[in-house]
Each structure stands twice: as C-alpha cells, then as structure tokens.
Amino acid sequence: MSRLFSDIFSQRTVDGRSSSTNLATAKPKFHCEKVNFWYPGKQALWDIDLTISEKSVLALIGPSGCGKSTFLRLLNRMNDLIDGCRVEGQIHLDGTDLYSPTRNMVDLRRRVGMVFQKSNPFPKSVYENVVYGPRVAGVRDRARLDFTVEKCLKQAALWDEVKDRLQSSALELSGGQQQRLCIARSLATDPQVLLMDEPASALDPKSTAKIEDLIDELKKQYTIVIVTHNMQQAARVSDFTAFFYEGRLVESGLTQQIFTKPTKKQTEDYITGRFG
C-alpha cells in the first residue's frame, strides 16, 4: 500500500508540487475546539479539534456519512440553512469567533468561498455567473467587473476556453468547464478560503486533472479545504489530511505522514482500502 502513495509523493517532488509555503511556520486560519454539531434530532459531530493553516490545502477524508462534509459546511455556516440544527464549541476564523451572534454572515460567505460537489452554474451567461458575487456586493463599475471576469477566469484556467463566448449560456459548457466556472465564480469575491466539497467527483479524469492542477496553483493565494473520497487525489493535492470516522476526527497531520505512517489503526484500514 505505502508503495502506491510513496510513488505519488515522489512524483509530487518531481513536479515541484510539494508545499510552497513553509508548513511549520504557517499562520492558523481556522481554529476549532471541541466542536459538536447536531442535525435535528441527531448528533453528527463529536468534539472536533482542528487547526487549519493559511495558504495550505487540507483534505478531509473518511467514509460516507462520517461528517466530513458537515464539518466543511460549518466553516462558512452553510448548515445554518437547515432548520433546527445546533453547534457547540469554538470555531475561530483569524482569531474571531465564527459563530458570534454579531457575525455578518454575508461577509463571512464572501470571505469563505465554496465549490460544490455538483457544478451549479446559474442559468445565466458565463459573464454574469462570474460577476454574481461582486454584483450582490454592490459593485456596479463595468471596468471593475470586466477586470474581475478576466482575472478569475484566468485563475480558474478557463479563460482561453470561454473568452470568446462570455455572453453565452453557462449551461452550454462541458461538465469540467462548468465546475471551473464555479471555482472562478467563487474567486470573484476575493475570498481568503476556498471550501471544496468533492469538486471533481462528477468529472472525467482529464477534467479532474485540470481541477487538481488548479488547486495546486490556487493554494499560493488561498487557504483550501477539500473533501474527497479519492485517496490518490488527497495524496496528490493536499498538504494536510484529516481523517473522519463516525462523526469524530480520528487523526490529522501532514498528508505524507498520514498516508505513509498513520498512527491509528482505523486510518490505516481506511487508507489501505480495508473498509469504506
């Protein structure tokens, strides 16, 4: 087993894909302490303690229903949309309480962008999809919007493919393009964090590779938290990995360490494919 992953890690070094920041000295972006979470009538997360470093990629792995997506959605308070759910414990973003009653949710979601499992472009033009965030933030300046569109589409490696059809429907793009459009859309609000919920699960290998390259590029500027079912993908793109099992955080740490020398038996079983 470790052969497979050690291949990946050696390949990463060859590609120059290893962490660009000094992982040891990175500033913490999120800090979670004793986080418990309940859906109406049932607890979903137990006592999660986790720190997420700035400008790094954290992969959340674990079997289906282990709570990794739930945890991801706590970070931009998307779970608030569900009636009757409840959070306990501390989550800090840049040292301020994420769940403080005075927190401006709209501001929070602008700073913590999110990309969903299934691409969800709005039924609007490519251009309008990208400028959606700035527009709802009140930006009216056409030059600024144009600038944003070009910048974000370039960042999302989509510019060359769509620059001549900005005004046509976003729904006409291919699946992989749509997902990159959604990433570009998230970047348009200048977030500091990008949450990705299995962003490549519905895509073919070629599109997946593009998204992974993109993540590697984006982490220079953004803190990225990605949920994935794909072990190789986690090993390929992330700096840190956190393994969830049945609503608990079993183990977290540097990706290379988790994948090659896991300390917990459950982690090793999962990574080697013995369950899940």
């Binding site: 709005f122 033009s125 959606y132 709802v136 144009d146 001549d164 005004q167 998230s186 348009a188 609000t189």
Partner: protein
Amino acid sequence: MSEPVAAQKPPSPAGDVIFRLICQACGMFILLVAAALLGILVWQSWDVLSRIGEYKMFTSTDWNPDQRPRVFGSWVFIYGTLATSLIAMLVAVPLGVGSAAFLSEIAPPWIRKTCSFLIELLAAIPSVVYGFWGLFFLTPGLQKLFLLLGGPPNTSGQGILAAGLILAIMIVPYVTAISFDVCRAVPSSQRQGSLALGATRWQMIWTVVLPYARPGIIAACFLALGRALGETMAVTMLIGNVRYIDFSLFASGDSIASVIANQLNEAGSRDHRSALVALGLVLFLITAMTNLAARFLIRQGAKPRVRVNRGPQSLTGPANAPAEFGPLVVSESQWKRTARENRVMTWVLGFCQLATVVPLFLILGYIGVRGASSLDWNFFTELPKPPGQLGGGMIHAIVGSGIIVLLASVCAVPIGVLTAVYLHEYNTHPLTKPVRFVTELLGGVPSIVIGIFAYALLVKPPAFIASLIASVPILSYLMPSGFTAWAGVFALGIMMLPVVVRTAEESMKLVPASLRQASYALGATQRQTVMRVILPASLPAITTGVLLAMGRIAGETAPLILTTAGSNFWPRSLYDRTPFLPGYIYEYSKSADADQQRQAWAAALVLLSAILLLNILIRVAAGRRVVAASRAD
C-alpha cells in the same frame, strides 16, 4: 406443438377488445364534445359573424339589440373584460409571486403548511360568494375611498376597479399555488451557490430563485389570466353593467361574460342571440390561447431559460484593458444598504403573504357572522315563503344542488376515468395526443361558455336540432328542450370531465410500474390489469380528485342560470326547472329586503361550509390515503 401456443392466448380476447373499444369511445366522446362546443359556437354566431361589418361588432361601442338597425358593437364588453383582468393581474401577480417566494424561501414550515392550506381554501370559494361579499363589503368601502381620493362624486363604488379587485382576490391563490410549486422545484444547489457567494436571502430570491422559476411563474400568470377573463358571477355583480366606455378607473363598465349571463336568456331576435354567442366565441378563443400558452410553458418549464446578450461575446479589446483593481472591499454603507434591503424585502414578501390570506378571513368572518345570525332550523326544512311572510327556507335548493352535482359526477366520472385509462393504457393509439390536448383545452373553457353551449344545444336548440329531436323519440329523453335539470347536469358534467380525466391519469401514473409488470407476468390481460390492479391502486387518489371537483362545481352559478334557471319548488324530475343554492345567493344578495338578505347570508354560509368542509376533510383524509395508494407495492 399447437397446445402451448393455445395456452399462451389471453383468457378472453373479446372482453379485452370490448374494454378497449369502450375506453376509446370515451376518449372520442371528449373529442365529440369539444367539436360540438366549437361547432355550436361558430354555427350559432354565424348570423352576426358573417355580417360583422353590418353589425359593427368590432368597430363600435354601440350595443343596441332593441332598436333598428340593430348594432352589436362590443368594445364596451371587450374593454371591460380586458381592463378588469389587467387590474386583477397587476394586483395578483406581485402579491402571488411575493407570497409564493415568502412561503417557499422564508416561511418556517408551520407557516408554509398553514398558508398553503388557506390558499387552497381561498381557491375553493365560489364566484357568487365572492360577488356577494364584494357587494356588501368591497363596494361601499371603495365608494368611500373614491370620494376620499377626490374621485368624481357620481360613483357608486361598483365598476371596473371593484370587479378588478375581486378578480385579483380570486386569482391570487392560483398564482401563489403554482408559483410556490415552481419555486420549490428550483434545485437547492442553486440557492446554496448563491448564498455561498455572499448573497443575502432576498438577493438569492431575486437573482436566482425567481429567474430560475420564471417560465413556471409566467405559466401560472397565464392560467390565472385565463380564469380572470372568463369569470362571470363576481364580475357581473360588481362591474356596474353599463353600456358605455369610460376610461376612468372609477367608472362602471361591463364584461363579455357578464353581458352574456345577463342577456342570453332575454335575447329575442336571432341576431341578438347570435351576437352574444359570438362574444362567447371570442371569450373562448382568448382563454384557449392563454391556456395553451400556459400549458406550453409548463411543458417547457423543467429547464430555465437563459437570458443572454446577443452583443459582443468577449471583453472589449485592449483599449479597455483595465488598470489593476485591488481586492474587492465592501464599504460599511454598502453593507448596511444590502442588509436593510434584505430586511425590508423580507417584510414586503411577508406582507404579500398576509395580503393574500387576509381576504379569506374577511370573507369567512363576514359571511360567518352574518350567516350564523341568519341561519335557523327553518332554512333546512322549509320552502321559500312569499314576500312578507317570515321563516322560509331553502331545503329544495339544497336538495336540487345536491342532485345536479351528484348526477353530473355520475355522468362525468365513468367517462372521465375510462378516458384516462385510454390515455394511459392505450397511448399508442394515434388519437391519444389529440384527446389529451382537447381535454386540457376543455379544462380552461370558462364556465359561461359551457353555459352557452348547453343553452344553445339543449335549452333553446336551433330549429334544425329541434326537428331532429322531434323526429327521433329517444332523443327527446336525452335532449329535452327548455330549462331542465338535465341541461344543468350536462353543463356541470362537461366542466367536471377534464378534471376527472386529469386526476385519474395522474393517479394512474403514480401506480408503480412493478405492480403492472407483476400483473402481466402472472398472465393477466390488459383489461384485467387495469380493472384489478391499476384502478384499485389509484382509486383513493381519483376519489380525492373527484370530490375536489364536486366541491368546485357545487358553487357554479352562471352555467346553471342559463340551463336549469331555478325554481321555487321541490326538484321534480330531470325535465323540470330545478332550484340550486348558488342561484338563490345571486338572486337574494342584490335585494333590499332584509329578510331575503338574511336568507342569502344563510345560503352563502351553508354553501361555503359545505365546500370548505369537503375540502378540509379531503385534505385530512387524503394526505394518508394518497400516500398509501402510491405505496401500493
């Protein structure tokens, strides 16, 4: 080798064939009815249509049926119909869409449940009850408002605006219910995508949910418009019934449906009758077009349409190459503005919801209070007393209404269900598509047009048909002339037919395919499968639909005025004039006689309670039963 082949033969091919033929015949019957409807309308209006210039039908505002030369300029009525519908749409669409957005996106589940139930009740109130309430509650209020606003002093409160407002109240439930459904159907990934980009809830509703739901909402508006255009009783009671056009909002007017209801019975000359039928044809064509537009949009509805610019596809060249912009910073004042906008619009949407359901309480409350104080035991035991004698009742009308509605259902349900079987089971037949289309079309025909059809075919048949009836004895039983209960049953039955077909087909679709396959796998024929498996499994849902439809036709007034005409005595046979409860509400509501007004309130209360009770019971019972039916596997 011949033995096994014989064993594979279906048990009773003749039965299967006969069953299929019966189902097909029912489907053909609907085509026949629709063809007859259109045929009668065209034929009976041909006198005027063929000399349309001479009668100045569409070139004049002068409607003069009594003096020679007769002219039938119908712009007064066309204007009245369009103006009232326009007012209704202007009020109902924002309110309906607003409250649908509120229910779908903002309201907590218990409000959503309660309000959607109340809105369904509002849709079940009969037109004549709206009109009655409008006479006593809306128009005196409007008159005071007019004077307060400095309108012309010579206004009586009735008119275009009053009729438009009552129409608005009547169609809001339709707009709301359908828009709510389409809003709910917007994928939640769209909402989350929007919120995750920092949109407020209002921004999400305005920029994502409503645009996504737009085709469905437009369809809802068309359906509601079709209903507003064809509405008769409430309009005729409130519009003022005058024969001139005055473009003031305060002015009286008249509508197409209203003038038909008022004059068809008293049209003496052939061309007068012909002109009224021609107006009916116009109404039929307009409503058919709106309904077709709605159906078309609903069928398209699944996919949202994308508004794209046809302009330059790329950013405009290097000349425009922008200077670097810093990261997006949102100013404090912008924050506050967005947040305030969100707060205000949440309240506005909540207010839309409130404004939508408040009329229900006003109507229920007003009629409840006045009706309860007017209701006594005599009402359920006596016939009407002559003027000046107190204590009459309306038992004969309650019974009469019951008989007509039951008979209409008895006629419409088997035909409707078998048509649905035809549409659902024999859908390879080349005529299923036309039958389904015609059924949908028939469902949108205004009740007054059905009334004209029954009147022109049965009550006062044209000479050709009359002589045909006289020469074929059996026809005189099937098509007795004059005002008869049978003509009313015919009209209401036709109104009910499309509803039954639709519910039955929809509920048959809910029966799991596995059930049907199991039946066929056991060697059952198609007829056996339908009769023993599919119909029993969909029966609860069909029953629910039929009961709801009965509640709807129980309050119908306009077609019955033209067909059964009412009576002061017990219903006697299918070939007599027959009393019906809504007719008395219409007749007594306009009276100045306190005793008759009391009777009208009591009648309205009884009718309303019966219909609402039926609706409530169905919903309480159906929730479980429909689910049970769809879980038949």
